[in-house]
Each structure stands twice: as C-alpha cells, then as structure tokens.
Symmetry: C2
C-alpha cells in the first residue's frame, strides 16, 4: 500500500492535511478533528471525511473520537512537504528578493507544484542549508530532521548574551516588527530587561 502510494501523486488537499497533522501532533498528543479543522480553516465534518479516506490509504492512524497520528508513510510525506516549503522559502529569500514576512504565501502554493529534483537543485544552490529564514530546521531529502529545542527568550536571564536561533511566529506584521529590531536568526543580543 505505502509502496503503491509513493508513486501516485497526492492532491493538494491531502498534502495540506498531512502537513497540518504533522504540525499538530508534533508534541506527543494526537491531532483532533477540530484542531485540524481550525488549522486548515475547514469545517469538522470535512475533516472527519478526509481523515477516514487518509487512514484507509494508510497515511494516518485514526482512533474515532480520539484523534489521528501520522503513520510512518504519512510522516515521510509530511516531512517531504516541510522540506519543500522551507527550501522554497530560503531560496526565495536568498535569490529572489523575498523577505521573511512575505515569503510564506508564495511557498505555500509552490510547495505543491515543485519536483524533488527542483527542490534538490534549489537546496544545492543554497549550499544545503539546515534552517530556513525563520530558523526552522529543514528536513533532509532522506527524511531526517534536527528538532533542536531552543530556550525561549523570556526564560533567558537578564544580562545574558544570547544568539537568536528561531522565530516561531508566522504573522507578517510581527515578523516585520521583529525584523525592524534586528531580531532575526543568527543575530547575537544581550538581554537588557
């Protein structure tokens, strides 16, 4: 089943569901129907239906009324989408004048259209980066990902010198604000208060 699937193209919707479930079930708990619905801006019945189809296809493990998790195949495909998204964002910022606050929507559409070959060539042009412009880790083509846990800023002591590693908001306005303060990944800073 999973071998057969590897060669069938996934639809755009399916790719979005896999990404959403990856994000939501990331920290242990299974993703619930309403979590997924909210994330994807769909209604719960739509999610219920799709979840059923995807578990029949072996991409999800679904315990009715409890939630879903990705199977190994589903996880592999989700990570492939994550790699695509992050390589595309990094490429657009590096070579085509995008900024970290406006690159997301473009990547969101392109990630469904690119080939693995194109992604690998973009990655090569970038020197195979490990993180994207937000500091999020980029899965490698074999499906491994460095899930480093960084210390949140509020938990760093006053006076401490820190290096910004990752900025976990996707709100463009907030990103522009942080950017204007110079709070971008790679920057060194000292906590003033």
């Amino acid at each position: 089943m999973s071998a057969a699937l590897a060669h069938e193209a996934l639809t755009r919707s399916v790719e979005d569901y896999l990404k959403a479930i990856y994000h939501l079930s990331h920290k242990g708990q299974p993703a619930t129907t309403s979590d997924i619905a909210q994330w994807l801006e769909l209604t719960p019945p739509s999610v219920s239906g799709m979840v059923k189809r995807l578990s029949e296809q072996g991409l999800l493990e679904h315990v009715p009324y409890k939630g879903v998790e990705l199977t190994p195949t589903g996880r592999r495909l989700a990570l492939r989408m994550l790699r695509r998204h992050r390589i595309i964002e990094t490429y657009l910022v590096g070579f085509l004048g995008y900024t970290w606050d406006n690159v997301h929507p473009e990547a969101e559409r392109l990630e469904h259209a690119v080939s693995d070959t194109l992604i690998d060539r973009m990655a090569a042009a970038l020197g195979n980066p490990r993180v994207d412009p937000h500091g999020d880790p980029i899965p490698s083509s074999d499906g491994s990902i460095d899930e480093l846990i960084y210390t949140a800023l509020p938990e760093c002591g006053v006076g401490r010198e820190v290096s910004i590693a990752r900025v976990e908001t996707s709100d463009p306005e907030r990103l522009r604000y942080l950017g204007s303060l110079g709070l971008t990944p790679g920057t060194r800073a000292t906590i003033a208060s």
Copy 2:
C-alpha cells in the same frame, strides 16, 4: 464580468484550456472541440462542457458546431500563462541547471502556482529576456508579444548563412538531438546541403 474575473483565481484546468485555445486558434481559424480535446488529452464531451462554462464566463467566443476563439479577457489571461511558462523555463535553464529538453514538465506545473510578483522577479533576475530557451517570444507583463515570423530552415538556400532563431518542437528526444548538433537559438550556421 471581466473585471470581476480578474480577481477570482482560475483553476488549473481553466488555465490549461486558455493556453490550449491560444495555441490552436493562433493562426486565424477558431479552435475546434476535437483540436482542443486532442491537445489536452481529454474527450470531446469534456471539452464541450468546459467550453460552454468558459463562454458563459466571458473568456471565450463560442459558435456551436463551429469552434471557439478567445475574448480579449481570455487572450490576456492566456498570454499571462504563456509569459509565466516561458519565464519559468528561462529561469530554470539559466539558474537551476535545467536543459531545454527537460524543462517543460516542471514549468507546466509551476506556471499554475506562481504569483505575478515572482514571475516579474525571475524576469528581472534574467534581465527581462525577450525569448525563452527555445527562441519562443515571452509576452511582457502588459500583455504584448513579439510574434516574429522566421524562415523555416528547409526554405533557406544552400550555402546561405543563417542564425537559428527558434526551435519549434517540444519532443525531448528531438531537442536533445538538435542540441547535440549545436542547433540552438542564437547559433549561426551555414546550410551545407
């Protein structure tokens, strides 16, 4: 109607129909249902149905049993797709290691996902080229296109020195063969026999 349409996203199918009809009705005659069906590898009834919907939307002029032509709005949208396709091909060949014989399928998928902004930035990175790697003219963002008519090679006299302007095949194997002979746009050659 056409103003309203400008802001609704077209589906991938609609974009493909517009491109097909542009290609087929290019030389005067309207495109017939079976021409379109053959070009898109669909059945004639499918095309009949879509043609009806697109003319109701003001993108086509359809005379039943006769054929279709693009309206000005339809033509503008078709040229936008053509510009996308050709800028993408040129960019992928120029910056990402694609060759003229393998770039088509990638562009065919990307053209439905890119924004106008991205296309304009790719074009700028390329120095706003007038032709793609096959020598096909690239419509400008305002919708104008240089439809130069070149002389076909067999009609050039023996001994004549010519400059290859455009290669009008999309067959990868043929393109590789021509490429191996050095018969690419921009090359100068002398007709031997």
